[in-house]
Symmetry: C2
C-alpha cells in the first residue's frame, strides 16, 4: 500500500512547500503515482503547482467536513503522475472549528482514508505552526514525517522543540509516527554557518539526516512563479539534481520496492 508522509516544521520559511512539491515531482518523474495535500491556509503548494486557490471549487477544507471525497477534489498538475488536493482561503477557519469537534486530531486521517490505495506516496504540506492543523497532518502521516531544516541558527534552535512535540503526538495519537528524515535546505557553501549547522544536526540526530543537502538556488524560488516544479523550470539546475537525489534516498528510507 502507499505511504503517507507529513512535511512539517513550525519554523517558518524553511522550505516545507518547496520540498513537498519538488520531492513529489521527482518521484512522479520516475514513474510513481504521487499526491500532494496542501494543508496550509496560505495555499503555497497549490499555487506552486500552477493552480489558483481562489477559483477552485472544492478543496481540503470541504474534505474535513465530509462534504466531499478525495477523488472529488483531486486536481491534475503539469507534471504527469503528480496530483494535488488543493487548499483554499476557508482552511484558515478550520483551526478554530476543529477545536470544538470530537476526535479533532484525527479528522484528516479519516478524510484521507483510502488514498494509500490510489497513490504510491502522499505528502501533506503543513503550515508553520504546531497547531491543530499540523497535529492532524502528523496523525494522518502513517509513514512518518519529513522535516526540512534551513541551515541557519534560528531554524536549528526550533528543531529540538519540534522533536519534543513529535514525541508527544506519537505517544498520544499516532504510534506509527517517526521521523523519516531531516532534510537540510538552503545550504550556502560560501558561509561557515551552513556547514556548522549541518554538522550540529548530524551529530544530534545520527542516521536521520539525508545525505544530500539542498543548495540555496534562485531557480528554486523562481519556479513557483511559473506554477511548475524545479524540473519544469530548470531541469539541469543544482536544485533539480539535489531534489532528485533526495527522492531516491526517500524511496530507500521508506522501503518502497
Amino acid at each position: 500500500a502507499g505511504r503517507i508522509l507529513a512535511v512539517a516544521n513550525q519554523k517558518g520559511g524553511v522550505g516545507k512547500t518547496t520540498t513537498a512539491v519538488n520531492v513529489a515531482a521527482a518521484l512522479a518523474r520516475s514513474g510513481y503515482s504521487v499526491l500532494v495535500v496542501d494543508f496550509d491556509p496560505q495555499a503555497n503548494a497549490t499555487s506552486s503547482l500552477g493552480l489558483d486557490p481562489r477559483v477552485l471549487q472544492g478543496n481540503v477544507y470541504h474534505l474535513l467536513s465530509g462534504e466531499v471525497q478525495p477523488s472529488d477534489i483531486v486536481q491534475e498538475t503539469s507534471t504527469p503522475g503528480l496530483y494535488l488536493i488543493p487548499a483554499g482561503p476557508d482552511l484558515a477557519g478550520a483551526e478554530v472549528e476543529l477545536v470544538s469537534m470530537g476526535g479533532r486530531e484525527s479528522i484528516l486521517r479519516d478524510a484521507l482514508a483510502g488514498v494509500e490505495q490510489q497513490y504510491d506516496v502522499t505528502f501533506v504540506d503543513c503550515p508553520p505552526s504546531l497547531s491543530l492543523l499540523t497535529v492532524n497532518a502528523l496523525v494522518a502521516a502513517r509513514n512518518g514525517v519529513l522535516v526540512p531544516v534551513q541551515t541557519e541558527y534560528l531554524p536549528l534552535e526550533g528543531l529540538s522543540r519540534l522533536m519534543e512535540t513529535l514525541e508527544v503526538v506519537r505517544l498520544r495519537f499516532n504510534r506509527m509516527l517517526r521521523v523519516v528524515g531531516i532534510l537540510m535546505t538552503m545550504y550556502d557553501a560560501r558561509t561557515n554557518l551552513s556547514a556548522e549547522v549541518v554538522q550540529e544536526v548530524r551529530a544530534h540526530f545520527p542516521g536521520l539526516v539525508f545525505q544530500e543537502a539542498i543548495p540555496r538556488s534562485v531557480r528554486l524560488s523562481e519556479a513557483p512563479s511559473r506554477g511548475v516544479s524545479i524540473f519544469g523550470h530548470a531541469p539541469t539546475s543544482a536544485g533539480a539534481l539535489s531534489y532528485a537525489l533526495v527522492a531516491e534516498e526517500l524511496v530507500y528510507r521508506l522501503g518502497i520496492p
Copy 2:
C-alpha cells in the same frame, strides 16, 4: 506618548523577528527607550536577544492571564535602552485558551496598557499565522503594523491576503490599525527575482514601501546565535547600515519628535 507596532506577516521566514530585533536595537542606539514583546511561541526574539525562554520565570503568557504586570517580567538586553517581554513554551497553549474567552481579540492590548508611557516605541513580534495570537497583536498595535516581505515570489503572493486580513481586523477590532510600512527583506542584487518583486510591491502599494531594502547577508543570520543584534555582532556590515536607515525612516513615518 509612545508608539506600539506589530511586526506581522503570516508567511513564514520573511524576517519578522530579524526586523523587530534590529530596528528596535537601532532605535535604542540612537537614544530611544524601546520594548520588544515576543508574541511567538517559537520565542525567537527572546533567544535573538540573548535570553533562554526555557529558564525565564515570567513571560508574555502570564501577562495574558493577568497574573503579572508588564514591569514584573520585562528583561534587560545586551543593548542599553532595549527591553524585552519574553515568550515561553507555554504561549503555544494560549491560542486554544483564547478562543473560548470573552473579548478574546483585545487581551494583549489590555495587558499592555500603560507600556506606551514607559517606552518610546514597542514592537510586538508575531508568529507566522493569521491566528488569534496575531489578531491580538494587531489589536494592540495602536500605531500600526510593520510588514516585512521577503523579495521572492511565494511571500509576494501572500501579501495581498495579508492586506485583506488587516482590513478585516481594522473594521472589526482596531480602527487605528494602518500599515506603517512594508519592508523588503533578503534582497539579493544578483538575481532578477528580487528586483522584480520590489518593483511589483512598490507599484501595488505606492508610498508604503520603505526606501531601504534589507540585503541578504549572512551576518544577519549569525547574530542570533550570539544573542546580540546586528550592531553587536557586525556593526559595519551592510545589514547593520540598512537596519539603521530603516529605523530612521520609521521615526519619520511615525512622526516621532
